[in-house]
Symmetry: C2
Subunit: 194 residues, 2 copies
């Protein structure tokens, strides 16, 4: 079996990863505009110039962050649990997953053409997955409304700091949301709580 090479003192892959991680955290905490390349490099323990050598541009780095982990949640389980996974991310008290690119996107209105396309692509992927749960000719529209709801919950809680959403237990919120989603997706299913 191929022996692992001795640990490199200089490890471009490791610094690349560190930059990617630091960028993900900071973008999610502060949004794109309020995050500085100097901050990212400092948190990653790397030199500023390397950020540009490896990623080209601040916006390219943002796109790399989004592309790298943006589809995590989508493919982390079956489609019917996707709303649950999204809510779990948004309603978590602990900072686990607080660096998720979805949160970064909620806080960042990046304007570049490429970022815009990447963002729309991600949205389409999520909608396509959610649409599997819906029936009828307007399945995609309904799926998009579900996604909008989840996004709105994340935005109100994380960015606006809504009190009720922070105080209520996560499963209580989820039960309510499930009622609404059922009413939206299953056209004639009975609306039963929990």
């Amino acid at each position: 079996m191929p022996q692992n090479p001795p640990p490199r003192r200089r490890d471009s892959q490791a610094t690349r990863a560190a930059l990617l991680k630091a960028a993900g955290e900071l973008f999610a905490e502060r949004g794109y505009d309020r995050t500085t390349v100097r901050d990212i490099a400092a948190r990653a323990g790397a030199n500023q110039a390397l950020l540009f050598r490896y990623f080209g541009t601040k916006e390219d780095l943002f796109n790399a962050v989004v592309a790298h982990r943006g589809m995590d949640l989508l493919h982390a389980g079956p489609a019917e649990q996707l709303p649950h996974r999204i809510l779990e991310l948004f309603l978590a008290d602990a900072p686990e997953g607080s660096d998720h690119p979805i949160l970064a996107m909620l806080r960042s209105a990046v304007v570049g053409k490429e970022s815009m396309e990447l963002r729309k692509e991600m949205g389409r992927a999520y909608v396509r997955s959610l649409a599997e749960l819906a029936e009828g000719p307007e399945a995609e529209l309904r799926a998009e409304l579900v996604l909008a709801w989840l996004v709105g919950i994340g935005f109100c809680r994380s960015v606006l700091g809504s009190d009720n959403l922070r105080a209520a237990p996560a499963d209580r919120v989820e039960a309510e949301v499930r009622r609404g989603i059922s009413a939206l997706l299953d056209l004639d299913a009975p609306v039963t709580p929990s």
Copy 2:
């Protein structure tokens, strides 16, 4: 009847209003961080320094914009039509109302303590109004979920640029949303479309 005073050449009130209007438009279009005090002054046809003389700080100006017109929608009609009014604002194709501070807030994650408090205050007012439509002990939580939904729709459509939400006719979207809201608010009312 009191004759209007002859049009003043130098009108501090008028320039104040012009600055407020230009700021509202630009904040709503680009968000807080991507809006420059130079841009605001230019669009208002006023000098930069006046902005600081009249409003003190860029963030103070933002707060003034929000406080000035933030409660418009809330008090523009009865509470039971509030969801309709919000959706009307978010789903409008024309740029009418595109300078509304609600849109500005969706695009701006202003960090200052005062802005945060103002934003939360507005959120509470809207939730209080929506909670009148709900029943049961969890009325406020449900109201907040309704608000989150509307906010999410505005965010996905205006900031993320979701395709389905842009393509679908406004009344179609509204009918779907009304179904979900009914399921959320009226605990045992039958779920009837439109």
